[in-house]
Amino acid sequence: MNGFTRLVKNGGLWMAGKRNSPWGAGRGGKAGNGNDSGDGSGPRPDPTPPPGSSGPRNPWLPPESGSSGNGNVENIFARGRGRGGGGGGGNFRMPQRPGGKSWFPVAVVAIVALGLGATMFHVVDAEEQGVVKTLGNYTRTLEPGFNISAPWPIETVDIVNVDGVRAIDIPTSDQQAKLILTGDQNLVDLSYVVRWNIQNLENFKFELVEPIETVSEVAEAAMRASVAEKTLDETFSGQGRAEIELAVRERMQRVLDGYAAGINILGVEIDKADPPGEVVDAFRDVSVAEQNADAARNQARGYAQQVLAQAEGEAEAFNKVYEQYRLAPEVTRQRLYYETMERVLRQTDKTIVEPGNVTTYLPLPEIRKRAQQAPSQGSSATVTAPTKGGQ
């Protein structure tokens, strides 16, 4: 492989940038992977070295040929190139002279060097990993940190955010709501979120054609299967929801592990579980009915409290009086009688009629009138003088 590698290097320098090379390597993007969020498919431009800061220390580079700031790379490369003896070695000292020599070879060299620098050095962030393919063959996974690989096209590096949580909304915002059948053959309008991340980057890259698509398909299948095991009321209840979420998550993980997808399902959350729009009024009426029933019960309870309080109060009052009465029955009775009569007669018209032979004219209308005229003048008393009838 070593001799071969050198050969490829030499060839590679010439062939770099030629699009019609038969090398399969370097095709980063894979069909069906373009719609994902954050799956940087394809080799992404590496942040190092930053372009634009030219290293003027480099003797054979013009200051304005925006070379990478990594002068070392250039030097190494230049030396390597000199040793490699590929065509163009003779151009080395040309740019040094201001003798009207062409800048073209220098530009080519600079571009190649840039390309090499960009494809040889990789900074992998803490939540990322990178897969390295050597001539198409997966060879290793890059861990976070600074990594070096052979340049393109020998090795291609694909750095992907592994730990970052990705979320899939189902149904997606542009999809119309899909009704799901429950076990008791009712329909429920569910929307939910699946959160996942990559557990094994190698599997994720090389086991599934459309990993993202697969996650949402598996989610749909799992959700329908799980909801079909529940009744409609259970899907509305908090506990039923939690059970569904758990069941979906486990089901999904099982299926995806069966595909060796390298995907970790972190959680499934049901956003909303509603009755279908067509029948929502009937469902609302049920909750209204609940409220009505509660209101009726509450009213009855209020009545009950009132009645009982009154009964207890009256009973207690009676008991108190009765205790006194038991101590002195006759006197208490008299006292109560007189007190009551005072209260009653103080506020009423009183007419005392002497029974006997005199037919009394009762001026009832008069009384009534007077009562209406002066209701507040205390009490008028009409007392017929008592006769000493007995004497």
Binding site: W23, K178, G183, A228, N292, L336, K350
Partner: protein, 279 residues
């Protein structure tokens, strides 16, 4: 520069030829693919198959004569369109399933189906009919729930048997959708849901008023018990006591009686006993 080429012309030409040859014969098989090398249409070798011992990487072929056919190595999916399935209790159901399959024998696949799309085209009607058979043997309810797993296992096994002919292996079949078809089935389901809820609402209201009545009656009974317990100690005193309260309530204005009362007393009245000076 000219002198450089002149002095080593042979070397340069040799190198150029070598490079050209290299690019004509080398081919790279990436990790995601399997490759079948065809010589004059006959398969002569495979690279990076699921069962073989070669890995992805750089390989050489005889230029011009050998052709390389690339075959997807990863898990492929087979989608079907929504299909109406009739359960054995004559209920219609809209079903959509998918299968996940993998090419395990690329040589056979290339020979029989040509490409993965060819495999899909061959398998899709099979998936359709197998699914129909399996689900059509079951009741609507069973389609939805418990037997789903068993049905799908059967579908997978059946489909897998067929897929082997094309060098494919079916890993999994899942039902993605089971919906009621638009129109009558959906409408009647909605209607059923509505009437269910209406019944529920009626029941809830009836229960509410029933409970209210019971609560009121219990309170009345309890208060009666309290009264009886207290007043029963001395019925005659209660009679007196309650009468006094009653006079207060009916005659006394301060208890909020609007109407004036006029009372005509007979001198024999108990209240006037002392008034008349009699003992």
């Amino acid at each position: 520069m000219g002198s450089f080429f002149a002095s080593r012309r042979g070397l340069v030409i040799g190198l150029a030829i070598a490079v050209v040859l290299f690019f004509l014969s080398a081919f790279v098989v990436p990790e995601e693919e399997q490759a079948v090398v065809l010589r004059a249409g006959e398969p002569v070798g495979t690279v990076n198959t699921t069962t073989g011992d070669t890995n992805a990487g750089l390989y050489f072929r005889v230029p011009i004569i050998d052709q390389v056919r690339r075959v997807e190595k990863r898990l492929l999916d087979l989608e079907m369109n929504d299909e109406e399935v009739l359960s054995n209790d004559q209920q219609r159901l809209l079903v959509n399933a998918y299968a996940r399959f993998r090419i395990v024998d690329p040589v056979r696949m290339v020979e029989r189906a040509g490409s993965t799309d060819g495999v899909r085209a061959a398998l899709e009607p099979i998936l359709n009919s197998v699914l129909r058979q399996e689900l059509g043997r079951r009741t609507f309810q069973a389609m939805l729930t418990a037997e789903r797993g068993a049905a799908l296992a059967n579908v997978r096994a059946n489909l897998d048997r067929q897929a082997r002919q094309y060098g494919a292996e079916v890993i999994d079949v899942q039902i993605k959708r089971t919906d009621l078809p638009q129109g009558a089935p959906l409408e009647s389901a909605f209607q059923r849901m509505e009437t269910d809820r209406e019944r529920e609402a009626r029941t809830i209201r009836a229960q509410g008023s029933r409970d209210a009545r019971i609560i009121r009656a219990e309170a009345d009974a309890e208060s009666a018990r309290i009264y009886a317990e207290a007043f029963g100690k001395d019925a005659s005193f209660y009679d007196f006591y309650r009468a006094m309260q009653s006079y207060d309530a009916t005659f006394a204005k301060e208890n909020g009686n609007g109407a004036e009362s006029s009372i005509i007393l007979s001198p024999d009245n108990e209240y006037l006993r002392q008034f008349r000076g009699r003992r």
